[in-house]
């Protein structure tokens, strides 16, 4: 199972970095997706800079990156590591992983944009695995500029 979960994470990274329109396909219809800071997480504060309930809101996030948001062109690169899983009798999988995200602009050298961890629930859907709940916790409380792409 760990190989299948790792494959999902690697696909997730590629989707965000190279074909963000495909990123919502990796979530269930009722999925929740949140990106928050260490500070909000540690203090049980519910606010999350990205807060999606249901795949509709996740689709809108991908739409905004491509259609409505004004930003300097940049390229993101996710490195996802330290994947660990716990399988439940109901078939769902509790998964944790670390991420590092690098950011490259057209006219600058690459910089480290964000580091953090995922706390996720993954479920089988037919032959594939999908995220039913994904919580991304940024290690830093301060974002460099803005969170334009999903984490």
């Amino acid at each position: 199972m760990i190989q299948r979960v790792e494959a999902l994470y690697y696909d997730y990274a590629q989707a965000i970095d190279e074909e963000v329109e495909r990123w919502p396909d990796l979530f269930t219809e009722d999925a929740r997706y949140r990106v928050t800071s260490r500070e909000n997480y540690d203090r049980n504060l519910p606010l999350a800079p990205i807060y999606c309930e249901g795949r509709g809101m996740i689709l809108d996030r991908a739409m905004a990156v491509r259609q409505t948001t004004v930003y300097a062109t940049r390229f993101m690169r996710h490195a996802i590591t330290n994947v660990r899983i716990t399988e439940s009798p109901d078939g769902s999988i509790a998964a944790r992983a670390n991420f590092a995200i690098y950011e490259t602009f057209e006219d600058t050298i690459t910089r480290l944009f964000a580091v953090g961890r995922y706390i996720d629930t993954i479920v089988p859907s037919g032959d594939i695995l999908l995220f039913r709940d994904k919580l991304c916790i940024l290690d830093s409380n301060v974002v460099i500029g803005s969170l334009i792409y999903p984490v």
Binding site: P46, P49, M57, Q67, V70, Y71, V142, V143, G145
Partner: protein
């Protein structure tokens, strides 16, 4: 050199005001540590005796703490001994503050109550001179004012009451959100933006850009030229309100001139922008900017304070504190959290602003002797009943010139 119109100097902004280190230093002294009530916190962040938080006013780190009586005290985060920023955690609860360097200890009023080895060691000597008096070395205190759960501080000793500082045009808008109900902290967002801090203030005083830059606003009808809207300033020009009433997402005469209106786009999760009315009056969105460091945001049902923290002339941090009310039901809290997607570090409209501000800084920096032009909606600084204007920005520069050139 600059040819600034003598009668309406606020229609021009020299670009050096965004980049010059001397201008920045003067702002710290005249504006943030001058005659101003700076936003510092919501009282609900430090609800109990001994609760503290650190924050920054302009460049200056400070500590806010609630003492036993319930009063909130504010100090410079600077030990009276060697200047150490003694409080190095963002928030917590303390019985006293102890500097880590030499363990000088202060009570919650800022009084120095302990100096280790003050009398030396009997067999070895040492210690402070006999005339050294603890009472002469307290923490430097700031003045504190509160209104309906919002905490302001001032480095200035002779401040007028907060209500007079805000003025009769601003107090009703302030009280519209902060109506005395208990506030509930929902969470924080923080970001660093590589531009001068004043560009952010201007951005929140500039309704002209909102329909043009923000495709999301224009397309989904949250903030658009063809909505009833108005701009109100206080007498000094430093504070302002941009308000908009009634959503409309349909194509109209006005949207023909807006490249930002995209009739082809639909939201897959439209619950994001389904607000419920909760405040008196017809406004559905109000941005209130209070000199010098605060924006109070009501965008539909998402509420936040946005605090500007300066980081030199070319950079600032924006600290967002999202809140609701203690009597909100779960549905209202969820609504506030969902709508928070519109704003903040990943906001559907806020991202555009953060990016464009960095473009502004980039464009202006090499040309300190050039200047920006502010004539949309005329050249004066009076209130206007529409959003095809830059009038609150002009009023801001009127106040700025008054403070900086006095």
């Amino acid at each position: 050199m600059l040819e600034t119109p003598a009668r309406t100097p606020w229609t021009r902004v020299p670009y050096r005001w965004y980049t010059d280190a001397d201008v920045y230093a003067r702002e710290q002294e005249r504006i943030f540590r001058g005659r101003a009530w700076n936003y510092a916190a919501l009282a609900c962040e430090i609800p109990s005796h001994g609760d503290f938080k650190t924050t920054t006013i302009g460049d200056a780190p400070i500590v806010l703490v609630r003492e036993k009586s319930g009063a909130i005290n504010a100090f410079e985060n600077r030990c009276a001994h060697r200047g150490v920023a003694f409080c190095y955690t963002a928030h917590g609860n303390a019985k006293a503050f102890q500097c880590p360097y030499h363990q000088w200890t202060y009570d919650l009023k800022g009084k120095l109550i302990g100096v280790p080895f003050r009398n030396g060691i009997e067999t070895l000597g040492g210690g402070m001179p006999a005339e050294f008096n603890l009472a002469d070395h307290p923490l430097a205190r700031l003045n504190v004012a509160q209104r309906n759960g919002v905490v302001f501080v001032s480095f200035h000793d002779d401040m007028e009451p907060l209500e007079d500082y805000l003025g009769p045009a601003m107090v009703p808008y302030f009280d519209r959100i902060f109506d005395g109900r208990e506030l509930k902290l929902l969470g924080y967002e923080r970001q660093v933006i590589e531009s001068n801090w004043k560009l952010y203030m201007e951005n929140l005083k500039d309704p002209y850009h909102a329909s043009l830059l923000h495709v999301f606003f224009a397309t989904f009808g949250l903030f658009r030229f063809d909505q009833p809207a108005w701009c109100t300033m206080d007498e000094t020009g430093g504070h302002s309100v941009m308000a908009v009433a009634a959503r409309s997402a349909e194509a109209t005469e006005a949207t023909k001139g807006m490249k930002s209106f995209r009739s082809d786009l639909k939201l897959a999760g439209p619950e994001l922008i389904q607000p419920v009315p909760e405040f008196p009056g017809k406004a559905i969105g109000v941005m209130q900017t209070l000199w010098p460091n605060l924006i109070i945001q009501q965008q539909s049902n998402t509420l936040a304070t946005r605090q500007i923290v300066t980081k030199g002339p070319n950079s600032f941090e924006l600290h967002w504190t999202f809140f609701g009310f203690a009597d909100d039901d779960d549905e209202m809290t969820s609504r506030r959290l969902r709508q928070a997607n519109l704003v903040g570090t990943s906001g559907y409209v806020s991202i555009d602003d953060a990016e464009v501000l960095e473009f502004s800084q980039k464009g202006a920096t090499p040309y300190p002797d050039n200047e920006g032009v502010l004539e949309m909606g005329g050249i004066e600084t009076d209130d206007q009943e529409h959003h095809i204007t830059e009038v609150p920005v002009r009023a801001f520069w009127r106040r700025y010139r008054d403070v900086m050139e006095a």
